[in-house]
């Protein structure tokens, strides 16, 4: 059975694109439309990889990422962050959040800026989980 990859994005276009790329390369896709749904799916299905949009309504993407990386059982699941904001801005915002008393979170395994090529995404998935 193929490895599972969860894509969490509020944009149906992005989900469709991600799911297609995941399927085309022989993985099993899972989808969630927001952070809350994503977290419960992760707990339930234990996917091998999560592709996450950081910029979703109510900051649920960032919350999901921080919840994931501070959870002992889940923190080893690799994450590809896929976002419209530059990596630098994202890292800076995380540093600021940590300074405001949040737990320190590690940088994501892979950070991709939108728009991303299908090959690029596929290569990143392959690099993470083979």
């Amino acid at each position: 059975m193929g490895k599972t990859v969860l894509t969490v994005d509020d944009d149906p276009d992005v989900r469709l694109f991600n799911v297609t790329v995941i399927e085309e390369h022989g993985y099993t896709p899972l989808e969630a439309t927001n952070g809350e749904e994503g977290l419960s799916l992760i707990k339930q299905e234990k996917p091998d990889l999560v592709i996450l949009d950081v910029l979703m309504p109510r900051e649920s993407g960032i919350r999901l990422y921080r919840n994931l990386k501070t959870d002992k059982k889940l923190k080893d699941i690799p994450v590809i962050l896929l976002s419209g904001i530059a990596q630098k801005s994202f890292l800076r915002s995380q540093k600021a959040l940590t300074q405001f008393g949040g737990a320190a979170v590690p940088e994501p395994e892979v950070y991709l800026e939108k728009p991303v090529e299908a090959e690029e995404l596929a290569a990143a998935i392959k690099k993470m989980i083979g």
Binding site: D11, D13, F17, M56, K114, A118
Partner: protein
């Protein structure tokens, strides 16, 4: 003790008189002729001289004249022969203080001496008074000069341009700051130009009117205006002035000019910086929006390629849909940007605001139904046909109502019966209050703070982040206001107040 010089060619008289004068307490020196008298006079400087008029050699008149030449204040009493009125008159003409007739009687002598002494005392007093007066005048002059100097330094060193005129508006004071503002040299202005020659027409008229108006001082309050300097520059200044008057009579005018060039320059710079910051923000937000769209287009192309290569119609169609969706997102973004960047004057037209509200609700009915949101309309029936910009109202209400439905859509509490209400209410004589209230997701303080700034969208892929910016811009162009109350999880209420005018035709 008073010194007296006694001059007579007759030694007997000298002896008798000097005994009598010494008895009266005088310090007496005697001389038997005019020449000796003058030598003694120089040596002793007596204040009173008593001289016989008829003497061999230098006579009494000559002695008198010589002494008066030396010291005008010496009292010279002439002793004349009986009936020699002519000599007595001559002596008086030359400044003798008195004359007594021979034979000299004690009473006459003592009266003459007493008078002489009184005169000396009065002279002395007068001299003291004069001296004192001169001293006082000198002191006062010094003080006045110091004050005038201080004031002129004060005027010179003032940062404000100060221009003072006489009652004919002739410039009499014109300090270096005024020189700097007006550009005319001090020497060309003072006593040569009229204030109306250098003031802008508006101020010149004002001063002329005030000068010709009713008597009494008058303050011209601070205001901003522009000066045209000598070389034609238009210089922004703060201006305040006064008509000066003394005892109710106008005596001139004074005007203060504060150079606002630097302040205006800083204001401009600040505005520019703010605009640059806004552009930076806009570009950053725009880049984000465009990246999302590009991502959608790329994803679509990927699906289309896949569909073609694998002959998979389903993928092909889904890819094509994706491309079409992202094309329409592009046009939405561009339209929003256009309407935001365009300066627009509201166009007032007769319209029924309640009807516009109803149109908006009808337009959104389907979208609301899809999202399980009930739309409630509560309109104030007293609002009839008025004149306002119907397009502004339509776009504002459409945007806020659309947001309100979205706010319900994003609400996580699915146990709620979601409602969006649109209420109209006539508030003041010329204001209508529009209220758009939802019981959806609500906002926290952070989101409320960012609400009207560009490209802040909580809607993820759905929003361009421009909607509320455009809404606020439209409302402000219509001289209206927008306020928001929101509580996280409870809902949000936007209150828009728009002024209207009475409808144009009755």
């Amino acid at each position: 003790m008073d010194k007296i010089l006694l001059v007579d060619d007759e030694p007997d008289i000298l002896r008798v008189l000097s005994i009598s004068l010494k008895a009266d307490g005088y310090n007496v020196t005697t001389a038997q002729n005019g020449e000796d008298a003058l030598v003694l006079y120089r040596k002793e400087s007596p204040r009173i001289v008593l001289t016989d008029i008829k003497m061999p050699g230098m006579n009494g008149i000559e002695v008198l004249r010589e002494i008066k030449k030396i010291d005008d204040e010496t009292e010279v009493i002439i002793i004349t022969g009986h009936g020699d009125i002519e000599s007595a008159i001559e002596a008086l003409q030359y400044g003798a203080s008195d004359f007594i007739n021979k034979p000299v009687r004690d009473e006459a002598l003592s009266i003459a001496l007493k008078r002489a002494k009184t005169k000396i005392a009065i002279n002395q007093k007068l001299k003291e008074y004069t001296l004192d007066l001169e001293q006082k005048v000198a002191d006062a002059t010094r003080k006045v000069r110091r004050q005038a100097n201080f004031q002129s330094k004060l005027i010179r060193s003032s940062n404000d341009g100060i221009v003072a005129t006489d009652e004919n508006l002739q410039v009499v004071i014109y300090n270096p700051s005024a020189e700097y503002i007006f550009g005319y040299a001090r020497k060309d202005v003072i006593n040569k130009m009229l204030a109306s020659d250098i003031y802008p027409a508006e101020l010149a008229d004002l001063f002329r009117e005030e000068m010709n108006g009713p008597n009494g001082a008058k303050e011209i309050p601070w205001k901003e205006t522009r000066i045209i300097s000598r070389n034609g520059d238009s210089i922004p200044v703060g201006f305040a002035g006064s008509i000066l008057s003394e005892k109710g009579r106008k005596m001139g005018s004074v005007a203060f000019f504060q150079d606002l060039r630097e302040i205006k320059r800083l204001e401009q710079e600040l505005l520019k910086n703010e605009r640059l910051a806004a552009i930076g923000q806009t570009v950053a937000g725009l880049a984000h929006g465009i990246k999302n769209i590009l991502h959608g287009l790329k994803g679509g192309s990927y699906l289309v390629d896949l569909g073609i290569n694998k002959d998979d119609t389903d993928k092909l169609l889904r890819g094509w849909d994706m491309i079409k969706r992202n094309i329409s997102r592009t046009s939405e973004l561009v339209l929003d940007l256009l309407s935001y960047s365009k300066e627009r004057e509201p166009e007032f037209e007769d319209c029924f605001p309640n009807d516009i509200a109803k149109d908006v609700c009808d337009l959104l009915a389907e979208r609301a139904k899809e999202s399980d949101v009930e739309i409630i309309q509560e309109v104030d029936a007293s609002i009839q046909e008025v004149s306002m910009d119907p397009r502004t109202l339509h776009e504002v209400l459409l945007n806020l109502m659309g947001n309100a439905i979205d706010a319900c859509l994003f609400d996580e509490d699915i146990s709620k019966h979601w409602q969006v209400a649109l209420r109209t209410q006539r508030e003041a004589d010329n204001i209508i209050r529009f209220e758009v209230a939802d019981n959806g997701a609500g906002m926290d303080a952070e989101i409320k703070r960012k609400l009207f700034t560009s490209f802040f969208s909580t809607k993820g892929h759905r929003g361009t982040g421009l909607g509320l910016m455009v809404t606020r811009k439209l409302i402000e162009e219509h001289n209206g206001t927008i306020d928001v109350n929101s509580e996280l999880g409870q809902g949000t209420t936007f209150i828009v107040r728009l002024p209207f005018q009475a409808r144009s035709q009755s």
